[in-house]
C-alpha cells in the first residue's frame, strides 16, 4: 500500500487531471448546447475516464509488484 501511495504521489500521475477535465468538457460540449447538460455529461465522462484509467493503473501496479 505504501508503494501505491508513493505512486499516487508521484507527480507524473497528476498530469492526467487537466487532460481529463479538458477532454470531458469538450466532449460534453459536442453533445449538448446548454451549460447544465454539458456539465452533467462532462462529469459523467470524467468519472468514467478516471475509473477506467484508475483500473488500468491498479492492474499495472499489481503486475509491477508481481514481476
Amino acid at each position: 500500500m505504501l508503494l501505491l501511495a508513493a505512486s499516487l504521489l508521484a507527480k507524473q500521475v497528476w498530469y492526467i487531471v487537466p487532460l481529463i477535465l479538458s477532454v470531458s468538457l469538450v466532449y460534453g460540449a459536442t453533445r449538448h448546447e446548454l451549460p447544465r447538460p454539458i456539465l452533467y455529461h462532462a462529469w459523467h465522462t470524467a468519472v468514467w475516464m478516471a475509473i477506467f484509467m484508475g483500473g488500468i493503473f491498479i492492474v499495472l501496479w499489481l503486475v509491477s509488484l508481481w514481476v
Partner: protein
C-alpha cells in the same frame, strides 16, 4: 457515482449554424472561432479555453520543441498532423520547417527556436538534436507531445460541432448527418 439528479430534458433549441463550411474553417483556424461566428458564445469560450490551454500547456512543458514538422529518414513526426488540428497555433512549425530546409538554421534562435525541427546544418554537416532534446526534457517531451496532440484531436470534435451542431441537441428530434436535408431544415426552422 453521480451526486446530482439527471438534468431535465433540454428544451427545444434554436441553433443557427449560419454557413457551416465557414464556421468549420474558422473553428479549425482558431479553436472556438467558428462558434463565435455562429454567436454560440458560451461554447466558443469553452472550446477556446479548454483546447488552447491544453495546447499551450503541452507546448510549455516541451519548451516549444514538441510541435514541429519533419518527415525524413531520421524523423517521421507523425504526431504533427494531429497537432495541426488546432490550426494557426501549430502553423509556425511549417514555416520553421521550410526555413530549416532552405537555410539549415531555424528562425528565432535567440528565443530557443520554437517549433523548429531538430535537424540542423552546422559546419556543413547535418546535425540531429532530437536525442539531446529527449535527454534534457525527459518525460516532459512525451507529455508535451501528448497534450498538444490531444488538443488537436479535441479541436476536430469542436470543428464537427461547428459544422453539424451538437450530437444530442433536442430530445425527440434526432438529427441525421450534416449533409442530410431533414437535419438542415430542422436546424433552420428551429
Amino acid at each position: 457515482m453521480a451526486t446530482s439528479p439527471p438534468p431535465s430534458p433540454e428544451p427545444p433549441l434554436e441553433i443557427d449554424l449560419r454557413d457551416p463550411h465557414v464556421a468549420a474553417l474558422l473553428a479549425w483556424l482558431w479553436p472556438g472561432a467558428g462558434h463565435l461566428y455562429q454567436r454560440r458564445y458560451m461554447k466558443a469560450g469553452l472550446f477556446m479555453v479548454c483546447i488552447l490551454s491544453t495546447y499551450f500547456f503541452g507546448l510549455a512543458l516541451g519548451e516549444g520543441k514538441v510541435v514541429y514538422a519533419a518527415w525524413n529518414a531520421a524523423d517521421r513526426r507523425w504526431q504533427y498532423p494531429l497537432q495541426l488540428g488546432v490550426g494557426l497555433p501549430a502553423a509556425p512549425a511549417i514555416v520553421q520547417s521550410l526555413v530549416v530546409r532552405r537555410t539549415g538554421q531555424p528562425m528565432l534562435s535567440a528565443l530557443g527556436a520554437p517549433m523548429a525541427p531538430p535537424q540542423r546544418i552546422e559546419n556543413g554537416l547535418p546535425v540531429n538534436l532530437l536525442p539531446e532534446w529527449h535527454k534534457t526534457l525527459n518525460m516532459r517531451f512525451e507529455l508535451g507531445t501528448l497534450y498538444t496532440m490531444i488538443a488537436g484531436l479535441l479541436n476536430i470534435l469542436a470543428i464537427w460541432d461547428a459544422y453539424g451542431g451538437p450530437v444530442i441537441g433536442e430530445p425527440g428530434k434526432e438529427r441525421g448527418p450534416p449533409g442530410d436535408d431533414k437535419s438542415k431544415d430542422k436546424k433552420k426552422a428551429a
